[in-house]
């Protein structure tokens, strides 16, 4: 599904140059569930941003399917992104002014999908994450766990091939965390590739493969028995 070859990301400010990713090589296959772990500042989020095409690498190759996208501009990246990738964030990132339903629908608005189909798919997604009864609420009227479920619904409603989750349980208590992980597992079981960054070892155990990063480099890869 995607292949990173000698991928490097360097952040430059006027005074310092920080290498966030250093010659990273990763290959993720269609349908995999990969967890990325490592201490703060090891480059997890940078990696996820590049994989999610929210950022460009400084050097190296990024093959998405059979396209090398490392050098693509924002416009082309946005196009690939919206067709293929869904995002889940630690801080949910829902739009405060939109209701639950509208937040989820937003992901489809950029896809030229007819209104009726859009509505059906939103309802379906909300039902899937068990939040349909709150569809007309605003985000600030929901608990953290409920908000994250909405964020998952929004991530999956466009039926992406790959889901990127950045600390999806970081802001949740253990019960809600478990629930989110079960949902991700379920989605993975339906064929969606999942790449998740996490600090939590128990939650990383849900993944088939764990990639450990340290100082911008892959230091270990553990394959968990199915």
């Amino acid at each position: 599904m995607l292949k990173l070859v000698d991928l490097t990301k360097v952040y430059r400010t006027e005074e310092v140059e920080t290498t966030a990713l250093n010659q990273v090589n990763i290959h993720i296959k269609q349908g995999e569930f990969v967890a990325i772990m490592g201490p703060s500042g090891c480059g997890k989020s940078s990696l996820l941003n590049i994989v999610g095409m929210l950022d460009n690498p400084s050097s190296g190759q990024y093959w998405f399917g059979d396209e090398e996208v490392a050098g693509y501009g924002e416009r082309r990246l946005a196009d690939i992104r919206k067709k293929n990738i869904g995002f889940i964030f630690q801080s949910f990132n829902l739009i405060d002014e939109l209701t639950v339903f509208e937040n989820v629908e937003l992901a489809l608005l950029y896809h030229d999908i007819p209104s009726r189909e859009r509505k059906e798919r939103v309802k379906e997604a909300l039902a899937k994450v068990n939040i349909a009864h709150r569809e007309s609420h605003l985000p600030q009227q929901l608990s953290g766990g409920q908000q994250q479920r909405v964020a998952i619904a929004r991530a999956v409603v466009s039926r992406p091939r790959m889901l990127l989750a950045d600390e999806p349980t970081g802001n949740l208590d253990s019960a809600n965390g478990e629930e989110v992980m079960n949902m991700l597992t379920e989605l993975n079981g339906e064929g969606t590739t999942i790449v998740m960054v996490t600090h939590s070892m128990p939650h990383a155990q849900y993944a088939r493969r764990i990639i450990n990063l340290f100082d911008g480099q892959v230091v270990a890869e553990n394959l968990r028995a199915a």
Partner: protein
């Protein structure tokens, strides 16, 4: 998608209520101000364009160029000029002259005066005023006819269906109504500068004593009193006629005696549509006034727009996260730009609508302040939309453009990292500075104008305006014949101190000037142009002008009395006409002291000798804009028009009633027109007072709008810096420290604004004051005061937010986000 944008836009507006209201109200005020001023300017610059032949109609001006003198232009010409132009210049298709005459008629039992225009028959061929009845081509073909506006028809006949009826004058003459025209629109010369409601043929006889005088003018080329309009043939360039005018004039007008040879007298053709904004003799709306209006409107609107943009951008910087989410979900930059523009346009439109409502409510009051009439048509929806839509669209676009372009630029990752420090802080500070610069300049201008207006109205006028009554309307045969009897009768009324007739009272805006010189001066010396004031015995006393030397006109010296005709005759008997000089005239003539001047001879018009019998103090005949003019008083019986009555301090209502009774008894056919002299003088300063009121209004508005913006920005900053403030408090800052921190942040741009505003206001107001001969000095204290008050207002606006945020528990602040 559009629906989604609209939904978000509306919810953002509702959720950020405070900003929506601040933004909306501020912009609405700015738009309403600009729209009202814009409408006024539009109205004033679109005079008389509606006549079908407007492009070919010109008013004939008389111009006089003389070295070392300002060129002079007059709107009036001699009576024979028009027909001569039509005859001598093949390019002239037709000409129309307009003279005005006061007629007296009985209306509901009492004599009333009305103004009628004597015009050449083609008047309504040139000027398209729609006829409700009658035929414009033939209505004024014959003498003895009258065309009137529908209001006049209703006033005199109770119906607008008046054709065939007769308008009876007290002189016994009847005028037959041959046409009724719709009331004239507000944007025509004939509503404003030269108001007309009754028209008659120029050959009409009134049998009120005026006819011979008027007929007498047919051959007089030096008596300028009539307006002359020409219609040029299609395709004629008026500039090609100009070179022929001096010779044409010279062929008919005898040269002025002893005039210096380098005086050029010529004619100019003033386009009909330019007359209103090319004021001659101060009548009309000057380009400077229009520019001032446009300038003030731009300032107020500018302040409101800056507000809108400042607040919109500040608020939208808080929406970086939403932008990032939308981008993550696949939104293109163009879509985001569209979304922000839509939101901004929505608020701008709502403000525009509110602005329209404000215009509807405030326009009558605004026009009242300006003292102008504007047709309802100009205030109708279409015009308002034209006036309001451009600023609305501009503001909507500008307000949305910054967030649209700036926020949509970065990669979503940089936005997702958390709420950004709101960018553009320095730009916002600069914009706040600009706003306050404009507001401070307006405040200084208001104070200085107020000071000058007060100063001007309390300036020593050289006479006593209070306690004097003016009776007007003696300038007709019955009036002139009754002057002496009236004066004698009024003098006998208890409570009346002195009485005297004259041609004008001060502030009548009379301008009769003549050339004078001393005997024996070389011909090469230019003549001196002095104001000439025709008066009667007793007038200077009644006016309260101090006598400096010699004596005043005296009924015991019959030779004191002359007439314009006698003065002009130059019949060679060389009896010197007695005159009284003003102190300024003595000085200008170089006659030494007042006492030395008495007995000296001055030549009028070159060779008519005049003898100085007395000298009086200077009198301000105009306004504080001009200095005391050198004036020569002559006792001319045929030029009198007003009677001035000086009252004793104990005069009361009975005195006034006795004055009225005396007039009615002695002049039963003349309407009584009485006013107090000081009221009349006050009117001269009314325009300045009005301008100063308007300016005060607009500077108040400017400050209000600027403060609305500042209030919003302060609230925004306080909110944005909540976490920082919490940290500072954890580290030991007191409430006072925090308040000081925030207040100082907003003091900087206001202080900077002073540095820019002061020199600017100094130059602008210095120039404005330069137009007054007697003026206040610019006081640096006022500048400091204006600056200080701006700062205090800014502090008051900001301090509330600062205190609220600073007083909150630091933990609340830290938990924020």
């Amino acid at each position: 998608m559009l629906l989604n944008y609209l939904r978000v836009a509306l919810r953002v507006l509702v959720r950020q209520r405070l900003y929506t209201v601040l933004n909306g109200v501020g912009l609405a005020l700015g738009i309403a101000t600009a729209a009202m001023m814009g409408l006024f300017v539009w109205h004033e610059t679109h005079f008389d364009g509606f006549h079908g032949q407007a492009g070919r109609i010109f008013r004939v001006l008389q111009a006089r160029y003389q070295p070392a003198h300002a060129p002079s232009r007059m709107v009036v010409t001699s009576k024979p000029l028009g027909p001569t132009l039509a005859q001598d210049l093949p390019e002239v298709e037709t000409m129309v002259r307009v003279a005005r005459h006061f007629i007296v008629l009985r209306h509901q039992g009492t004599p009333v005066e009305d103004r009628i225009a004597l015009v050449d028959a083609p008047f309504f061929r040139l000027f398209d005023f729609p006829f409700l009845a009658g035929d414009p081509a033939t209505a004024l073909k014959d003498p003895g006819t009258v065309v009137m506006t529908e209001s006049q028809a209703r006033r005199y006949f109770g119906t607008s269906d008046a054709v065939g009826r007769t308008l009876m004058l007290t002189s016994g003459t009847g005028l037959t109504v041959t046409g009724v025209v719709r009331d004239l629109p507000s944007n025509t010369l004939f509503s404003r500068e030269l108001p007309l409601t009754l028209w008659t043929n120029i050959a009409t006889k009134f049998h009120d004593g005026w006819d011979p005088m008027f007929a007498d003018q047919d051959e007089k080329w030096r008596n300028d009193f009539i307006h002359t309009f020409v219609l040029l043939k299609p395709g004629v360039d008026p500039a090609t006629l100009a070179p022929r005018f001096p010779a044409l004039l010279a062929a008919h007008r005898q040269p002025m005696r002893a005039a210096t040879p380098d005086v050029v007298e010529t004619l100019e053709l003033q386009p009909l549509t330019a007359m209103h904004i090319d004021p001659i003799e101060g009548i009309g709306t000057s380009p400077a006034t229009l520019a001032a209006f446009v300038g003030v409107a731009a300032l107020v609107l500018g302040i409101a727009m800056v507000n809108f943009i400042n607040l919109s951008t500040a608020r939208s910087s808080l929406r970086a996260r939403e932008v990032a989410i939308r981008k993550t979900l696949g939104s293109r930059r163009g879509q985001l730009v569209g979304q922000f523009l839509l939101e901004s346009a929505l608020l701008a439109l709502a403000s525009g609508l509110l602005g329209l409502v404000l215009v509807e409510l405030a326009m009558p009051r605004f026009l009242g302040l300006l003292n102008v009439r504007v047709d309802g048509g100009f205030l109708s929806g279409g015009w308002l939309l034209v006036a309001v839509l451009p600023p609305v669209l501009a503001v909507g676009l500008l307000g949305g453009l910054y967030p649209a372009l700036v926020l949509s630029r970065p990669r979503p990752t940089s936005l997702l990292r958390g709420p950004q420090a709101a960018g553009g802080g320095r730009l916002r500070a600069a914009l706040v500075m600009l706003q306050f610069t404009a507001a401070i300049v307006l405040v200084i201008a208001t104070i200085v104008m107020g000071q000058q207006t007060r100063y001007a109205s309390t300036q020593d006028l050289g006479f006593r305006p209070e306690g004097a009554v003016v009776l007007r309307g003696l300038d007709r045969p019955a009036g002139l014949a009754g002057v002496q009897a009236l004066r004698d009768a009024l003098s006998r009324i208890p409570g009346v101190v002195s009485v005297g007739a004259a041609a004008n009272v001060p502030s009548d805006r009379s301008v009769w000037t003549n050339n004078y010189r001393l005997p024996g001066e070389a011909d090469s010396e230019p003549d001196l142009l002095f104001r000439t004031e025709p008066v009667d015995v007793g007038y200077l006393d009644a006016l309260g002008v101090p006598r400096l030397a010699g004596r005043l006109f005296d009924p015991d010296h019959p030779a004191d009395i002359t007439s314009r005709a006698g003065l002009r005759a130059g019949d060679g008997n060389r009896v010197a006409v007695p005159i009284v000089l003003s102190a300024a005239a003595v000085k200008r003539l170089g006659l030494g002291t007042a006492d030395q001047a008495v007995g000296r001879t001055v030549l009028y018009g070159g060779d008519e000798p005049l003898t100085v019998i007395g000298v009086v103090d200077d009198v301000q005949f105009d306004s504080a804009r001009s200095s005391f003019e050198p004036t020569i008083y002559m006792a001319m019986r045929d030029e009198l028009s007003i009677m001035l009555v000086r009252l004793a301090p104990n005069a009361d209502a009975a005195t006034l009633a006795a004055i009225d009774d005396t007039w009615r008894r002695l002049l039963p056919d003349l309407p009584l027109k009485r006013e107090f002299l000081d009221d009349h003088i006050r009117q001269v300063y009314e325009e300045e007072a009005r301008q100063s009121d308007l300016l005060a209004l607009f500077s108040g508005l400017a400050i209000l709008i600027a403060c609305l913006g500042l209030f919003g920005l302060a609230a925004f900053t306080a909110e944005r810096r909540t976490k920082e403030i919490g940290l500072r408090k954890v580290l030991g800052a007191t409430v006072a420290d925090i308040v000081r921190l925030l207040v100082w942040q907003f003091s900087k741009p206001v202080l900077m604004a002073n540095l820019v505003a002061w020199p600017l206001a100094w130059v602008v107001m210095g120039r404005w004051l330069g137009g007054f001969a007697y003026r206040v000095q610019l006081d640096p204290l006022i500048f400091a005061l204006a600056g200080l008050s701006a700062l205090l207002i800014a502090w008051a606006t900001v301090a509330g937010h600062a205190a609220r945020v600073a007083a909150a528990k630091p933990v609340t602040a830290l938990r924020y986000e």
